[in-house]
Symmetry: C2
Subunit: 149 residues, 2 copies
């Protein structure tokens, strides 16, 4: 948690069902100095945490409007509709923000593999007291995801 | 995803069971300019995403050694053993890093409420096309968590 603003502080003790206009909430989100906020994608029914990526305000608004996850690609420096090249679309079920408005949680229906390596999710390297260990195999060959020969 | 380094790229196509020394993995993690990496905490059995916080290398090493979640508090600027004041400890089951080493996923056993508001998790403000809406009630009065009168 970082420091919270009055908008989020007022909701801490608000009753369930309390509403605010979406615009006010978007204005209060704690985008970082690059204009980005971390977004966790979770499979809506199984609870698998699939990946974490970043959104700017445009990506978030696009996700809400199009009901599919849209991120900001930091490596390509542009809007990234998840699955636009791989077909591995994330249909959006819900978006929540956390108590201080600096993280988003998306519940999605992930088609196929979330990870660019062809694995179901991105969290396949376990850290133990002595080792890092790969503990998940690809579902699909990543070369087939991106149309490489 | 950000840009990946050779350490993580080499693991992308590695077989399940491939190991690297922990130190090499920690050296390769993509801590940000403040020396921090985002860490998602998930309840190990139900799959609930409880919260997202930040770790520096010391917090991560402490978490691995003590088998409980330890974060870096950005507001207090110090190591934060989750539950040290509230009693809401997170016993650690596993830690994974993602494909490019810039996010951690912790599976934990959360005692009571993860959120400082007394709610089970921090993601209690839903964003819809028109509104932000509080959709989760506290499990406990937050004043009882922190010993306030």
């Amino acid at each position: 948690m970082g420091s919270s603003t009055p908008f989020w502080q007022a909701l801490e003790s608000a009753e369930t069902g309390t509403q605010r206009p979406l615009e006010e909430a978007l204005d209060a989100l704690a985008f970082n100095e690059a204009g980005l906020i971390p977004a966790i994608a979770q499979q809506h029914d199984t609870g698998e945490v699939l990946m974490m990526a970043w959104m700017n305000r445009e990506a978030l608004e696009t996700s809400i409007q199009e009901r599919r996850a849209c991120y900001w690609s930091r490596s390509r420096n542009r809007l990234w509709r998840k699955g636009e090249s791989s077909g591995q679309v994330q249909q959006l079920y819900s978006i929540h923000t956390d108590c201080d408005g600096d993280t988003l949680l998306l519940k999605v229906d992930q088609q196929g593999a979330a990870c660019h390596t062809g694995r179901r999710d991105c969290f396949y390297v376990a850290l133990t007291e002595t080792h890092a260990e790969v503990d998940q195999s690809p579902l699909v060959d990543p070369n087939t995801l991106y149309g490489n020969p």
